[in-house]
């Protein structure tokens, strides 16, 4: 049997996996990165609009800081986020942008002086400060109080991934391309690596590592209509789930992006609306202010997507032979802005729709976009239940997004989690207690098990069609586990997904090739995807409230009294057709920002019994410390700095917040 040994095995070559790998490599550990595709083709490249980090360089970002980024993130999450981890995240995000600036990302820069922008449909002249000239620029995004999304035109993820992948090449980190992890090797207490299939030759290889990190991205392809790349099938989450030990958190929290182009579902960035684009209906009427007078087009994505679907139900959609859609109007931004700052949007409109967004409106409708849930980890990125297994990025439930992620927080999370988890995974490997001691018999058993499963598909007598089962799953998820959910529909979805899972155990193949065989890949992935889909649907059925992107028409209110908790799904036995669900309570008594109204969306919710008490405590601390710095107040409300790796604890300098002394940086 072929075995590859390394210190850190990273599953996934996108931004999170690469940054994590670079971190571990620079701490002196051997790293191997596995990737389905050449890493620069990872779905990270599809992030268009921006990366949230409170640099406060723009005049419309003046006054921004970690506190505001934290509050926006927690409100966006509808209080589902882990607030300590959210704090770690917002403190590291500016460092991540600055690191990438040093590594070569051509961030769009501030130009001093007057310029015309579109705000709330009106042309406004704003003046950028002289002292900000040449610093990293920010644009407006949904659900934020300040202009905070750092960007590279509208190819932000692409440019970040270029620089990140280049640095990994510079560090001589091996990336094994066109291979796929198909099982984790573990003994129910400790993870030892993965069984990996070479997608060209079909050979199975065991990769053994002290630490294994899942950074394989989201699960958008559980849905028929999604912005996600075809490789985003949630397989990394499935691998963790199939250990029976690791858990998946909040899988029912699925985000729908308001502006997928219709009907293909390809993303056009939130930056379109951030830069002043408007949503319009069949009458050409700008409808969002009717629903969201405060944030309008720039409420959080879950809210905007729901308002759009509601508006379509009211008959205000534009009819087409593929169904109804709405319009995104960016014509008011002008040709220069569109050709320079929204060039990918421009290209997508040209090639896929045959329209010119300078003159034409873009047909859009919400499409699945992001998986808030994933492998549940603690703040170090290590699985809470399976030692030696880590996760980062969209594949993880770390958990800064709770039930709704803010635009621009995803690429920010990939790099920030890569930086932070890269340090913790290195600490883990440095500790001699974590050296791997694994009998080859265990490895052999896993290899044999996986080879038998593949042989079963290739040579068995199964008659089910894998791609038909997968298509049916995607249809069920899109039609019954979508933006608006009801108990009855979810029940029928769960029942039918269970049936599909049973049938998927009898998939047969027409193509018997042992090497490259797309039908075989579809077969075994579909079996895995169905388990993840069941975690989403069953989690959604069980959660009888509405929170963030999870909206139940039959339980329309957020219910903190009963549901201020994180869903944990595990898959106990291969014979099961449902995940086992457990819940992890979020402690209101420790929250820096106790639950309340988000500032957009529904205003009625059921309070947690402890919320009033915690609110009073927070107010008392704020009053008592009225003269203290914001750092001291924050520390009194919810200490978190000790959780960060030491090198990332420092403050972040801004034009209006200069760093004064070495001692202050160290603090």
């Amino acid at each position: 049997m072929k075995i590859v040994y390394t210190d850190v095995l990273v599953i996934g070559g996108g931004l999170a996996g690469l940054r994590l790998g670079i971190g571990a490599r620079r701490r002196g550990h051997d790293v191997v990165i596995l990737s389905l595709v050449p890493p620069k083709r990872s779905h990270s490249a599809a992030a268009q609009g921006g990366m949230q980090a409170s640099l406060a360089n723009m005049i419309k970002g003046q006054g921004d800081n970690e506190d505001l980024h934290f509050e926006d993130t927690v409100r966006g999450s509808d209080w589902g986020a882990d607030q300590e981890v959210a704090r770690m995240f917002v403190n590291t995000a500016p460092k991540a942008v600055r690191e990438l600036a040093a590594w070569g990302v051509p961030w769009s820069r501030v130009r001093k002086g007057d310029r015309e922008v579109i705000i709330n449909g009106q042309k406004v002249t704003i003046t950028e400060r002289d002292e900000a000239h040449g610093l990293v620029a920010q644009r407006d995004f949904g659900g934020t109080k300040k202009w905070r999304a750092c960007y590279v035109s509208d190819g932000t993820g692409h440019a970040m991934l270029q620089a990140m992948s280049d640095q990994a090449i510079g560090d001589a980190i091996p990336v094994h391309e066109r291979v796929e992890a198909i099982a984790l090797i573990h003994d129910a207490a400790r993870c030892y690596g993965a069984i990996v299939r070479d997608l060209v030759t079909g050979a199975l290889i065991a990769y053994l590592a002290k630490a294994t990190a899942i950074a394989s991205g989201g699960a958008g392809r559980l849905y028929r209509v999604t912005t996600n790349a075809v490789i985003c099938e949630g397989i990394g989450s499935a691998l963790a789930l199939e250990t029976g030990v690791a858990t998946l958190g909040n899988m029912e929290a699925i985000q729908f992006h308001p502006t997928g182009i219709f009907p293909a579902g390809i993303l056009v960035t939130e930056g379109c609306r951030g830069d002043g684009g408007l949503l319009k209906d069949v009458d050409g009427h700008r409808f969002m202010p009717d629903y969201e007078p405060e944030k309008k087009e720039l409420a959080s994505r879950d809210v905007v997507s729901r308002r759009m679907e509601t508006h379509i139900v009211k008959g205000k959609g534009v009819k087409s032979r593929f169904g109804d859609h709405l319009w995104l109007d960016i014509t008011l931004l002008g040709e220069k802005h569109i050709r320079h700052n929204l060039r990918e949007v421009n290209e997508i409109c040209h090639y896929f729709l045959g329209i010119d967004p300078v003159k034409d409106w873009i047909p859009v409708r919400p499409a699945q976009h992001y998986t808030m849930g994933g492998v549940r980890t603690g703040y170090t990125g290590e699985s809470s239940t399976l030692k030696g297994l880590f996760a980062a990025g969209e594949a993880a439930c770390w958990d800064i997004h709770g039930f709704n992620r803010l635009g621009g927080n995803s690429v920010a999370e990939t790099v920030v989690a890569g930086m932070i988890v890269g340090e913790f995974i290195s600490d883990f490997c440095d500790n001699s207690e974590n050296d791997v001691d694994i009998p080859t018999r265990v490895v052999h058993d896993f290899l044999r098990r996986e080879q038998m499963a593949i042989d079963g598909l290739l040579e068995g007598r199964g008659t089910e069609d894998g791609s038909a089962i997968k298509a049916r799953m995607q249809e069920i998820m899109t039609s019954k586990v979508g933006i608006f959910r009801t108990g009855a529909e979810l029940e029928s979805a769960v029942a039918e997904l269970q049936d599909l899972l049973r049938r998927s155990r009898s998939i047969g193949l027409k193509c018997k090739a042992r090497g490259a065989n797309p039908e075989l890949v579809t077969g075994y992935r579909t079996q895995k995807m169905l388990k993840v889909a069941l975690c989403v649907a069953y989690g959604a059925l069980t959660r009888t409230e509405s929170r963030g992107a999870h909206f139940r028409e039959d339980f329309a209110r957020r219910d903190d009294a009963r549901w201020l908790k994180r869903t944990l799904a595990s898959w106990k036995s291969e014979k099961d057709t449902l995940p086992s669900l457990a819940y992890e309570t979020l402690d209101v008594g420790k929250m820096e920002l106790p639950p309340g109204w988000r500032g957009y969306g529904a205003k009625d919710y059921v309070d947690h019994p402890d919320t009033a008490k915690r609110l009073a405590e927070v107010q008392a601390i704020r009053q008592r410390m009225a003269d203290a710095s914001r750092f001291e107040v924050q520390q009194a409300l919810m200490p978190y700095r000790h959780l960060l790796p030491e090198r990332l604890r420092g403050r972040n300098e801004r034009i209006d917040e200069p760093l004064r002394s070495e001692a202050e940086i160290a603090a």
């Binding site: 050449p38 130009r111 940086i665």
Partner: protein, 273 residues
């Protein structure tokens, strides 16, 4: 066919008022029926000793808004499960799906069939290692290319202070660098390159564009002398015959012609030093 009863287009039939975007004109035989496409694919599986290169033709009914991504997946699902091809983003941004479409290297995912004749021939990109059918190993080649031209930013300060305000950069320069950074390493430029056909070690426009990009970047500590060491020979900048096939086919419209010309002048200057 001789059925001359012209059926009005479905969108008109519905009487719906639509903006031009939703009117997907049939470009077929004028009778309103979907076109029948004949897609011929150059097939060969090097993993299979019995396989020989051959063209195989699949018939498929055209649908509204059909791209080659949609067409190829439909063929694989309904007609031939063994067909190999690569798609990732299906939105024209990742560079996975470059192939030769009716003789021209391009991105298949954003190629609408309505812009093609009813007979379509698809072949894998030449020059790159063939994995099977339409799938080629651009990733391996691109990594080798990056290693060869040391295609990563060589930081002036390897340990920047991340707590401090970032270094400034002129906004126009940042945009110029991004312009070159938009390369998606799809391989079209190399597949269309006359020099690459003759010199298998030619670095290709993609590599020269990388060098031009780092050369432009004040954060990179390298000088023209360093770049000359990397590309100052006939497998590098001096191998280019200026046929500019690269420039013609680049799906991202990168200014490859001007970048190569400019780089050559700079490198000639270095060579005469």
């Amino acid at each position: 066919m001789n059925d001359l009863t012209l059926k009005p287009d479905a969108a008109v039939q519905n009487g719906a008022v639509v903006k031009p975007v939703t009117v997907h004109r049939r470009t077929g035989n004028g009778n309103g029926l979907p076109r029948q496409l004949a897609i011929s694919i150059l097939r060969y599986n090097p993993q299979d000793a019995a396989s020989v290169p051959h063209l195989q033709t699949y018939g498929i009914e055209e649908a509204d808004g059909m791209t080659l991504f949609i067409a190829l997946n439909e063929i694989r699902e309904k007609q031939d499960a063994s067909l190999q091809f690569d798609f990732v983003c299906r939105a024209g941004i990742c560079g996975s799906c470059a192939m030769v479409v009716n003789g021209r290297p391009t991105l298949a995912c954003r190629t609408l069939t309505k812009n093609l004749p009813a007979e379509i021939t698809l072949a894998p990109l030449p020059f790159f290692e063939l994995i099977g059918d339409l799938s080629v190993n651009t990733g391996k080649w691109m990594r080798g290319m990056s290693e060869r031209v040391r295609g990563w930013l060589h930081l002036k300060d390897p340990n920047p202070d991340l707590s401090r305000i970032e270094e400034r950069m002129d906004p126009d320069l940042a945009e110029k660098i991004y312009e070159l950074d938009r390369c998606i390493e799809c391989g079209c430029c190399v597949a269309a390159c006359g020099t690459a056909r003759m010199r298998e070690d030619f670095v290709g426009a993609v590599a020269l564009n990388r060098v031009a990009r780092f050369r432009l970047d004040p954060r990179d500590r390298r000088t023209d002398a360093d770049y000359y060491e990397l590309i100052g020979d006939d497998d590098g900048i001096f191998g280019c015959m200026s046929l500019l096939g690269c420039h013609d086919v680049c799906p991202k419209d990168l200014p490859l012609g001007t970048q190569i010309a400019f780089l050559r002048r700079r490198m000639v200057r270095m060579g005469f030093r």
